[in-house]
């Protein structure tokens, strides 16, 4: 009996992996992909892990595939960059058991440092891409992806976007299929990608894409919906839903396989409609190919390459409907902020006081770039804080970075920061690296990593000791400080930054939202002692507000009693009380 359940796109992808008989899944957390692994772990039939980074995750999945089982890796779009080294080459080698990479793009940059389109990476790597348009398809396409992977001897990318990954819709559940493990046979010409072998595989890859493009014309996931022929759309993914919403009577060619493209099918469809629109979020990947075939169509002339699409966009640009939409009220913005009681705020308040610049990294602590903390000067990608600081020193000399540190979280340090630190040691840098160790991967919602002592599947394992790891690199100056001990922290930062050697300061305080993190105190103002100086407001804790008379209030439901404001107040006008 089939059961229907409301599922998040990512939950449906996980279900699809389960039903497809996946045996191994590896990933590094990253919005909007994280919930895929968090749901896969609910299926005991699948071995699932958090790997330290996306390259490792991809290689784990490759190994599992070569051994003969169905395997997958999942990551956000920028994670695909990290995994691109193995991806480009496994494209040549092909697979044994089916191999799928789920790549989650982020049009609109809800939680990312760029807006890149994974289809461009896939074209360069010559890897086919499937793109579902709702939760049901997310599940169905996952299963189909594994079939295609094995049929065409190729890794497959399943591309999702934030809107699909984080939307819920009904999904009909089916049973898991248990594909037979494919026997492993030594095959050096296929799986050892040295020049002589890779040359031959390159020929294979080109033919594989050509064959798939041909077959794509009859694949059930590429669907023609003929209606009114005045207007036709070629579209895919979530953009398809906007077409159905705004122009339900238009003809549509909905592509499920978005690379390679079914040329004949597209030519046929184009010949049947009067005006052809290409409606694709982000890059003009379809459009440029379709135009190169001499087909007349309208795309990025009227649709943006930036951000998310919508039905209103079509109503305006295609239907020329001028809807009466009221202007948004002019109100103060509400950007994301560090939580009340966040240890990063404490560290940044000290750095701010010392007027120290920080080369930043990817995590909640990136928020240290904005007022009122304004400490972080740069953020590029995972692990870049340490290496960019090193580059500054090599460009301008060691004195130049005496008022700089690198700040990086524990999970990001384990991801790729550790490589950069090795480089700093090896190439005789003198930078100060602050590892903001909050015992979790915070921003994506608390995932474990190699230094937390827990696995994705909930096992307790020996935690890699970051302090000892730094020591093992030969770094003499490794100091561990409680993030909320601002007095010691200030002293340590001054000392370490002054040294002409690499220093690592590990600020160790768990994320305030971490489960089991209990707070026993709360901060309360003592108005009669308050001098209205506003110093306590400087670190920007959202639990504090300034009253009309200049004194402050502390929201008891928000305060976690970290005591940062109390420590700053010179007049004892804030107390902590037991709760």
């Amino acid at each position: 009996m089939s059961e229907t359940k409301i599922m998040l796109g990512n939950e449906a992808i996980a279900r699809g992996a389960f039903e497809a008989g996946v045996k191994v899944s590896a990933a590094y957390p990253g919005t909007p992909s994280t919930e895929i692994s968090e749901n896969i772990v609910n299926y005991p039939e699948i071995y699932a892990e958090w790997s330290p980074n996306e390259k490792v995750a991809m290689e784990v999945a490759i190994g599992a595939s070569i051994s003969g089982v169905r395997a997958m890796a999942s990551m956000k779009h920028v994670g695909v960059n990290v995994a691109s080294d193995p991806l480009y080459t496994i494209s040549y080698a092909g697979v044994n058991g089916g191999l799928v990479l789920v790549a989650a793009d982020d049009p609109g940059l809800y939680s990312s440092q760029n807006e890149q389109d994974t289809r461009c990476v896939a074209r360069a790597a010559m890897v086919p891409v499937l793109e579902p348009s709702d939760s049901q398809e997310a599940k169905d396409f996952m299963k189909y992806a594994f079939d295609l992977s094995e049929k065409y001897d190729t890794p497959i990318i399943l591309r999702t976007t934030t809107r699909l990954s984080h939307s819920q819709g009904p999904v009909t559940l089916e049973e898991r299929c248990e594909p037979m493990d494919i026997p492993y046979e030594r095959n050096v010409s296929k799986f050892v990608m040295m020049p002589g072998n890779a040359k031959g595989r390159h020929v294979f890859v080109e033919k594989r894409l050509k064959d798939m493009a041909e077959d794509a014309c009859t694949m059930p996931i590429n669907k023609v919906e003929m209606n009114d022929t005045k207007v036709g759309f070629i579209t895919s993914g979530i953009a398809y839903q906007y077409v159905k919403e705004a122009c339900p009577n238009a003809s549509v060619l909905k592509l499920g396989l978005v690379h390679p493209l079914p040329r004949k099918l597209i030519e046929e469809f184009a010949s049947k409609v009067e005006t052809l629109y290409i409606f694709e979020e982000l890059e003009p990947v379809f459009e440029e190919q379709i135009k190169s075939w001499g087909i007349k169509c309208i795309g990025k002339e009227i649709f943006t390459v930036q951000g998310e699409y919508s039905a209103n966009m079509l109503r305006k640009a295609v239907l020329k409907e001028e809807e009466e939409i009221k202007a948004a009220a002019q109100v103060p913005a509400r950007p994301p902020i560090l939580c009340p009681g966040c240890p990063h705020r404490s560290v940044y308040s000290v750095l701010n006081k010392l007027k120290i610049h920080a080369a930043g990294d990817i995590g909640c602590y990136t928020l240290g770039a904005v007022a009122p903390l304004s400490v972080v000067d740069t953020t590029v990608c995972m692990g870049a804080s340490i290496s960019t600081l090193h580059g500054m020193e090599k460009a301008k000399g060691k004195d130049y970075i005496k008022n700089w540190v690198a700040v990086i979280g524990d999970s990001t340090f384990m991801h790729t920061g550790v490589n950069s630190l090795m480089n700093m040691v090896y190439n005789q840098g003198t930078g100060t690296v602050m590892i903001l160790d909050n015992s979790t991967t915070g921003m994506t919602g608390h995932q474990d990593h190699a230094a937390t002592g827990k696995t994705l599947m909930g096992e307790t394992v020996p935690a890699i000791n970051i302090f000892e790891l730094c020591k093992a690199m030969g770094i003499k100056n490794v100091v561990e400080v409680n993030a909320f001990d601002t007095v010691t922290l200030e002293k340590v930062i001054k000392e370490e930054v002054a040294k002409d050697e690499v220093s690592v300061i590990i600020t160790k305080s768990p994320c305030v939202l971490l489960k089991g993190n209990k707070f026993t105190t709360k901060c309360v103002p003592v108005p009669e002692k308050c001098k209205k100086c506003g110093m306590c407001l400087k670190p920007g804790c959202p639990a504090l507000t300034k009253n009309a008379d200049g004194t402050i209030s502390i929201d008891a439901t928000m305060c976690n009693g970290c005591g940062l404001c109390k420590g700053i107040c010179k007049f004892d006008a804030i107390e902590t009380v037991e709760v």
């Binding site: 409301i6 979530i238 902020i337 909640c364 959202p542």
Partner: protein, 189 residues
Amino acid sequence: MKTKNIMIVGVGGQGTLLTSRILGGITVDAGYDVKLSEVHGMAQRGGSVVTFVRYGEKVAEPIVEEGQADVLIAFEKLEALRYAHFLKKDGAIVVNDHRIDPMPVVTGAAEYPENIIENLAKEHSVYSVNAMDEALKLGNSRVFNIIVLGVAAKHMDFSKEAWLQVIEKTVPPKTVEINKKAFLLGFES
């Protein structure tokens, strides 16, 4: 039936996800097609968050666009104002009479608008509730969102029993009783 468009807006951490799951649950139980769209990740860290719920016979797009919302459920006043232009002409706002200063207000770079609820009421049907105080009276400030949902439920066509059933299925088992109480407090107000 025309697709119904509901929006839940608030500040990251106020429980918009749980509320949208209850809403999604009740529409499915009633046999509708439904799509929900939510916010995860960085934006959730104390930022302005919005969740869309659309239900009807067949729903295509998962988002509610400007000028289309039937009901706007706001867990914070400023957020009600921020998203008011998403409402249909005859749409209703259910707002928690509660203020959380955004960072530009905390740092003094901007001012928190005055008389938000009164001004919204000039153009829309506004139903406000001081859910924080009511929740504290129930003994758990965190269930304020379910009180607000209870008020909003008066503007939707599902029975009290159906709501209580879906709450029971959706919230953590230990909190079923207090959440039911919170819902009724809003629903029967």
